[in-house]
């Protein structure tokens, strides 16, 4: 964990120095062409489950309603899983162009989560072009179930709590294609079994391919290196379609992940996507501009 933090700090510092130097060289030049931020790498601040490199505008409130249904292979009797729904509701707010905070609550584990998200570097084009964005996210989740660990274990706040930290390195390659890599750590203060590591290390992948002005294909995967059981097909993989409809972004997808916060979809025992353990889900995002 120290190594990861050190590396990301180092990357940040090096990048920062590079920009500072570039700025110095350009001082005093007249008629310098403008530098533009590269925007709309993803349609929404989430790829599907994971945070994306995209930020909310200053003063924007993103109200998100997420649904995950039951296994598709339940068949017609359960309407392909639609009879079982679990949901997460959240409010994310853009304090500035580069700083977003959010809170949410999931029905699964009655879990409350919160995060802060800060963009250290923006991908830019023009004179001072910079190849990628770097966004840091730190979050916390708290299990809200009454006696979640049975009657004999004191359910302290600390035992209910987990944390996650991630650095999103993202780049919009062209108008249609964006890709991001996200080194992630998830730490759970308490696990249900001694063979389940408290701290999980993962590498997230997120990509978007725009099909038309309003429709994009998205893929979202986290490779967790020390999950239990260590089978690659149980890592959370989601594939979906983003549809933009004036003010709403509707993300429809299939996934093997049950959870809707980082602890839950990375650490919980997801079904295997080779084994038919997939379910439908959707994210609905409505952004309100509440302050200019």
């Amino acid at each position: 964990m120290k190594k990861l933090l050190f590396t990301s700090t180092l990357v940040w510092l090096v990048a920062f120095c590079a920009i500072a130097q570039e700025g110095g060289m350009l001082d005093g030049l007249e008629d310098a062409p403008e530098t533009e931020k590269v925007i709309s790498a993803f349609k929404s601040p989430r790829v599907i489950n994971q945070h994306s490199m995209e930020m909310l505008h200053k003063g924007a409130l993103d109200f998100r309603i997420l649904h995950r249904f039951g296994r598709i292979d339940r068949g017609l009797y359960d309407l392909f899983g639609l009879d079982q729904a679990s949901m997460r509701m959240s409010f994310d707010y853009g304090i500035s162009q580069d700083f977003t905070v959010g809170v949410g609550r999931s029905t699964r584990n009655k879990e409350v989560d919160g995060f802060v998200k800060y963009r250290f570097l923006s991908q830019t084009k023009g004179t001072k072009s910079f190849p990628f964005s770097l966004v840091w996210v730190s979050g916390i989740t708290v299990n809200g179930v009454k006696d979640p660990f049975g009657p004999d274990i004191d359910a302290t706040i600390s035992r209910r709590t987990a944390y996650y930290h991630q650095a999103i390195f993202g780049r919009k390659f062209n108008d249609n294609f964006s890709l991001q890599l996200t080194p992630t750590i998830v730490h759970r203060n308490l696990t249900t079994s001694s063979v389940n590591a408290n701290t999980l290390y993962g590498l997230g992948f997120g990509a978007r391919y725009k099909v038309s002005k309003r429709v994009a294909l998205v893929i979202d995967y986290v490779h967790a290196f020390n999950r239990f059981p260590a089978t690659i097909t149980n890592n959370p993989l989601s594939i979906g379609v983003d549809i933009e409809t004036g003010g709403h972004v509707f993300q429809l997808h299939i996934s093997n992940a049950l959870g809707m916060n980082e602890r839950s979809f990375i650490a919980d025992s997801n079904a295997s996507w080779l084994d038919g353990g997939i379910q439908l889900g959707f994210n609905l995002s409505r952004v309100f501009q509440i302050r200019e």
């Binding site: 802060v116 916390i140 730490h187 203060n189 389940n196 260590a230 097909t233």
Partner: protein, 207 residues
């Protein structure tokens, strides 16, 4: 990032829920025998690839005691594709069986036997008490296409009908009216038989 680092360094509490000790003879061996020792596989006579999974010494050759992640046994039951054990079309073990095996290896992979269990059959639950016994001892053979003896014990409906017809109990009690189960293995421990018997007397509910 400073705040993030601070939270990260302050949050390193590490704990897991307390666990019952694992008994090799009643928890691990039945899973291995019912899932690995089919004809043509890792039984005492054939020892496919040199592994005999029908007894403690044989199983230990695939285990690195104390370290489950580097044990051949754990790698095989969590592998995908051609390396997966049990091999396709048999299904992989369920997560709780994999967890039991990993915990057993982590705790030293000892040959624990004659373990004392307090056998309480007052409130028998299908999900918590009966199903794990069936999963560990029967599903290895009684699943897949076609299941052995044309008996498929992968669904509650099928287990319930076997239970209410009397076949299930007769076979595990080694009564003369049915073929003795688990096949070519010792009888289940009395506690497990009593648990199943009590559940059937209660009407085999899905509780």
């Amino acid at each position: 990032m400073l705040v993030g680092s601070f939270i990260a360094f302050e949050s390193c509490q590490k704990e897991s829920l307390p666990e019952e000790p694992i008994c090799f003879q009643t928890d691990i061996l039945p899973i291995m025998v019912s899932n690995c020792t089919f004809s043509g596989c890792h039984n005492a006579a054939e020892k496919k690839a040199g592994y005999d999974m029908s007894n403690y010494d044989g199983i230990l050759t695939s285990v690195n005691p104390g370290k489950f992640a580097s044990s051949k046994l754990y790698k095989s039951i969590t592998a995908i594709g051609g390396a997966q054990m049990p091999q396709s079309p048999r299904k992989r073990l369920n997560d709780s069986q994999i967890e039991l095996i990993a915990r057993w290896i982590k705790s030293g992979a000892e040959n624990t036997m004659n373990c004392v269990t307090n056998c309480d059959t007052t409130n028998v639950s299908y999900v918590n008490d009966v199903l794990p016994i069936i999963n560990s001892n029967c599903v290895g053979c009684h699943s897949g296409t076609p299941p052995l003896g044309d008996i498929d014990y992968t669904t509650y409906q099928n287990i319930r009908s076997g239970a209410l017809q009397g076949k299930l109990l007769a076979s595990i009690q080694h009564a003369s009216s049915a073929s003795a189960m688990p096949k070519s293995s010792p009888k289940l421990p009395d506690c497990q038989i009593n648990t199943i018997e009590r559940w059937i007397k209660n009407g085999a509910p899905n509780n």
